[in-house]
Amino acid sequence: MRKISLNQMRGKQKGFICDISAEAALQNKFMGMGIYKGREITKISHIGLKGPVAIKVGRSVLVLGHSVASKITVEIQ
C-alpha cells in the first residue's frame, strides 16, 4: 500500500481515494460528481507533466486540471 497524488499515478493504474484537501465548494462539486474518500478510481491518462488528468469513476470519465488533481491522494497497491 502506497499513498500518492492522483498526478503521480500511471495510466490504467487503479486506486482508492484516501484524502481530498479542497475547500468546501470544491468538495461539494467533487461529491456530486462521485469523487469522495474511499471511492475506487482508474487513471486513464494525463497530458504532459503539468497537464490535466483523465480518470474513470464508476461509468464516467472525468478530467481534472493539474492543480485540482494534486488535491486528491490515492492509495495504490
Binding site: 462539486k29 456530486g32 497530458i47 483523465a54 461509468r59 486540471g65 492543480s67
Partner: protein, 575 residues
Amino acid sequence: MIKKIFLIGNPNVGKSVVFSRLTGVQVISSNYAGTTVEITRGFLKLGGKEIEVVDLPGTYSLEASSKSEEAAVVLLKECPKEECVVVNIVDSTNLERNLYLTLQLIEEGLPLIVALNMCDEAKHQGVSLDVGLLEKILQVPVVPTCAITGLGIKLLLERISEIKPVVRQKFLHRQRWQEIGNIIEQVQKLAHRHHTLRETLEDASVKPFSGSVIAIGVMLASFEIVRFIGENLISRIADPIFFNFYQPFLIKLSSFLGEESFIHHLLIGDLINGKIDFKQSLGLLTTAPYIEFAMVLPYIISFYFVLGLLEDIGILPRLAMLLDNLLHNLGLHGFAIIPVLLGLGCNVPGILATRNLESRRERFIASTLISIGVPCVALQAMIFGLLGKISGYYVSGVYLVLLAIWLILGVILNRMAKGYSPELLIEIPPYRFPSLMILWKKLFLRIKGFLIEAAPLVLLGVLIINILLYFRLFDILTGISAPIVKGLFGLPKESVVALVMGLFRKDVAVGMLMPLALTAKQLFITAVLLAISFPCVATFIVFFKELGIKDLIKACLIMLAVALITGTVLNLTLH
C-alpha cells in the same frame, strides 16, 4: 394544482431534448456538459390546462458551483411545493452518478418523477435496469424514456398526476453514496462486453499523442468541409440565382428609376461602369441582399452544419482536455475552447457560453479574446471574399495574425487582470452517433437566428451608409481620422468609413472597401483591422449585458490599442 414543471438533471443527460419534446419549443442540444446556459421556458397542455415548463442548466448536486447552476437551484427552492412538479432526468447509462442528485431532490421533499433517459443507449451498452424495483426503493414514479425518438414521453406526462410530495430522511453526503451503492447493486445489471471500437477511440482521444493526432485531423477536416460546402453553395446555388434571375429584374428597375434619382441611389446604389455590381453598388436591393444571402449565408450553413456534428459526436470536451495547458497561459482553462469555437460562428453565443466559466476574471478574459481575436462567420466570409481572389496565402496570413494577437493578448491579460482562475473539472461524454433529426433542427434554429438578427441590421446599415454618403456626412470623420488611417496604417483616408461601419456590422463594410481600389497590402491590413474590432453592434450589447459597462469600456480600450499597434506594425513591416 400544478402550475410549473421543472426539468432538472446532471449535465449532458438530454434535458433540452426532453424539453423540446414536451413543449415543441426548439432549443439547441449537444453532446457536452453545459450546452444550456440560460433557463429556458415553454408551455405544454396537460388536462386542458396550460403549464409552464422550465428547462434548468445541468447540475451534479443541489450545492451549486457556477452561476448557471446557482440560478437553477434558487428557482427550484422558491416554487411552492403544491404548485410544481420536478422531472428529474437521469442518464440510464450512468445511473449511479445521477442518483446523487435524485436522492437530494427526494430528501428536499420535492414532488418528483424520474425519467430514465437514453434507455435505448443503455440497452446497447449492456446496462439493464429493474425499473419496477427502482420505483419501489425510491418511492417516486420512474419512467424509462428515449427523448430523441420520443419514447416514453407520453407515459411520463400521464404519470405526472400520480406525484405526491413526501418528506424523507436526510442523508449525510457520504451516506448518500453508500445508499446509492446499495440501490445500484439491486437494480442494475451489466452484461460483460469486450472493448468496442468506440471505447478504444474514446480512450485514444484523451491520451496526449493519439489525442492530438485525432484532434488536429478533425480540425483540419472540419475547416476543409466548411470551405468546400460554403464555396459550392455560393458557386452552384447562390450566384446563379442572383446573376441569372435577380439581376435582369434589377436592370429593368434601374432604368425605370433613372440613375440620378435619390430613390435609385437608395435601392440600386451606384452603377459601376454603367452596370450593377452586387459587391459595390451599395443599394438596399443589390449589395445588402447579395452580401447576406450569397456571401455570408452559405458559410453560416456550412459552419453550423460542421459545428453541430462536432458538438453531437462529443469532440469538444476532448479538445478542452488537450488544450488545457495552452489555455492556462492565457488565464483560462481548457473548457474555454468551447466558447471560442462557438465564437467562430458568431461572437454572441460565444460570449454567452462563457457563463460556464466559474470566475469573473475568466469570463472577462474569454469574452475580450473572443470579441477581438475570434472572427465570426460573416467576417470570415468577408475575408475570403476580399482576399481569397488575390491569394490563399493572404487569407491564411490574416488567420495567423489573429492567432498571434489572441495568444499575446491572452498572456498579457493573464498578467494584468485581477482575480483568480479556477481549474478544469469536466466530464467527458461518450462518443455518440449524431441524430440527424437533432442536427437538422439545430442547424435550422441557428440559420433562423442569423436571418432574424443579422439581415435587418445589414439592411439598416446599408440604408444609413447610403444616406450619409449621399449627404456627404462622412467627410468630417474622414478628415479627423486621416492622420491615423493614412499616416499610421497607410490606408486611403476614406477607408475609415468602412472601419467605423464595421463596428455596426462587418458584412456592410466590404461593399464600402471595393470602390477604394486598395492594394493587396492595404486590403490585408484592412481585413486584419476589421477582424480586431468588435464584429457587430450585437456583440457590444451582449458584452454589456453579461459583464457590465466597466468591463465593456475596458475591452473597447484594449480593442483600440490592439488595432492601433497591429495596424501600424503591419504597415511598417509588410512590403
